[in-house]
Amino acid sequence: MANQINLQGNQACALGAIAAGCTFYAGYPITPSSEVAEAMSRELPKVGGTFIQMEDEIASMGAVVGASMGGLKAMTATSGPGFSLKQENLGYACGAEIPCVIINVMRGGPSTGMPTRPAQGDIMQARWGTHGDHPIIVLTPASVAECYTETIRAFELTERLRVPVIVLIDEVIGHLVETVDLDALQPEKLVERTFATGSKDGFEPYAVTDDMIPPFPRPGDGFRSHTTGLTHLPSGFPTQNPAKAEAALVRTTDKLDLHADLIASNELVQTKDADLLIVALGISARAAQQAVTDLRADGIKAGLFRPKTLWPFPESDLKACVNGAKAILVPEMNQGQMILEIERLMARDLPVIGLNKIDGEAITPAEIVAKVNEVLS
């Protein structure tokens, strides 16, 4: 039975979170992400969950990590300056392996920038915003339906892998209204965190297991373990022993390599015979998709590679779909961020060209078509 409704991207993130079993939200208002908080304040009480508007983004991120430490599926949402403020406590979640989901709706920056205008300037911050080497997963929906399904996937990945997941959308996707059929988008089965069970004697909260994902000791279940942002041993207590410190840090990043197949997700549009490959995400990928259609109508074989998982970057998937392409075009609403990764991977094989826009307007299909024609001539 179809249940067609008109829904906004931000609201779809909130409804996706509820569908994924999220029962805790803490946030602080900021344009263009506030609708996520507003929707969560309405929806969470209905499922017996908790919404709280904290005193700032630092506190919101702390409260989300705190609720998740208590065993709940927890989320926050923010934009621009708020994303900057969340970084320290996000880093704590990366280090202590506390599941959480952060929706970041990108607006023009730096600083207060252009609060109501779209941008894609947080691509690098989403990967490297908190200090130190750390594991993180970043998903990039490009439609309202995907805001829903990718937020569900964000919860699946964070709960399963104990790695914070950022859902990175631009203001256009966040405020876009599209018709979706939510019934058709329901998850088959909810993914739940593996909680520690069994013997309490000698229990190690960060034990090295085959899947590198230690079972989570839920407070109240009798494990009485210690959680810290200090580099820690499998026992959970701090260490400065060089070999042990390195092993502890390496496990958290190796974990992502081990589960790379579970994490990676891309959309390929006519890449098989593409002479020109476009790599784009979010609203820029929507424009690129139209550009591919328009270019093909003119006899130009263009294709699109759209990473739905931006970080860890789907390196092998991109390489596998380059085939006979003569150049790669990377349109993005920043001064060249994702292109750095594409250049790192591909620049030895073929030219990688950027199309950048930072004026607060989305990139149009016509601009991409014009750039492709320029590149091919």
């Binding site: 409260a63 705190g66 406590n89 407070p219 109240g220 373990s225 200090l230």
Partner: protein, 284 residues
């Protein structure tokens, strides 16, 4: 934990080893550090209240004070500098079945975490916050803090402190905390009783422990060793009926110890849960 008030106290003798992680010994505190006495008083209070260690959650910030969580045999969370109240807010809302106790320092909760402290006081979620005030940033080697006394030397006030100090208890009361108290570490029984009442209070409770950083603050300001420091702290306090011993002369301008504020306000977690139950009941 409202009905805890009626629960009779655990009469069994208190043995600190039942509440600490012996395998984490030796602890890292300097000899004479007041933080250890505060830890003992807290655990004694937990013992008297008969709190199940499985249901005890200790959330600490960063500092020498923050390090105490690692020594407690409970669910312990050593969080980020200044933010333990934010983490504890999430944890206490998520898990109303837990006793959530925050251990923080003067720098942790009055400087970097000041905003979280005043909002925790205002919100009145069922949490206990124990602030160890040693008038200094101990962990980072002795820089000035918002409670460093006038003229005192620290590594960042080489000519003596020129900044005014915060009165943490007045701040907490003004911000709406329902239970506010203060005690010196010399009065370990009084501190235990105060912590006990704070934990039993239904809502947000704030306790300032006048602690001493012997090794850095004491040394730099010629305040003597631990015995001299805690004796002089005690003598600067106004005695109070709350104390077991009332043996110091009355001083009009001194800080007051004991319970300074006690008012009953609606506990936030319950208020929120009542609201959501009402919404669901109405089928909204």
């Amino acid at each position: 934990m409202k009905d805890a008030v009626e629960t009779p106290l655990n009469e069994a003798e208190f043995h600190i080893n039942d509440y600490i992680r012996l395998e984490q010994m030796p602890h890292f505190l300097c000899p004479g550090c007041g933080h250890g006495i505060a830890l003992r008083a807290l655990l004694w209070a937990v013992h008297e209240l008969g709190i199940d260690k499985d249901k005890l959650a200790i959330v600490s910030g960063i500092g020498c004070s923050g390090r105490l969580s690692a020594y407690i045999d409970a669910n312990t969370f050593h969080t980020t500098h200044g933010r333990p109240l934010a983490y504890a807010t999430g944890l206490a809302l998520a898990r109303p079945d837990l006793h959530v106790i925050v251990i923080t320092g003067d720098g942790d909760s009055l400087a970097i975490g000041g905003n979280h402290l005043i909002h925790a006081c205002r919100r009145n979620l069922n949490l206990t916050c124990m602030m160890l005030n040693n008038e200094i940033y101990g962990m980072t080697g002795g820089q000035v803090s918002p409670t460093t006394s006038p003229d005192r030397y620290t590594t960042t006030t080489p000519a003596g402190n020129t900044e005014p100090v915060f009165d943490a208890c007045a701040l907490a009361t003004a911000a709406g905390a329902g239970f506010v108290g203060r005690e010196v570490t010399m009065q370990v029984t009084g501190l235990k009783n105060l912590m006990r009442d704070a934990i039993q209070h239904d809502g947000f409770s704030f306790v300032e422990v006048i602690s001493d950083c012997t090794e850095i603050y004491g040394r730099k300001n010629d305040l003597g060793n631990s015995p001299e420091m805690i004796l002089s702290q005690k003598s600067q306090m106004r005695p109070d009926a709350y104390r077991n011993t009332v043996d110091v002369p009355f001083r009009p301008n001194a800080l007051t110890c004991g319970v300074l504020t006690k008012t009953d306000r609606p506990e936030y977690g319950k208020a929120y849960r009542d609201m959501t139950a009402r919404l669901r009941g109405e089928g909204k």
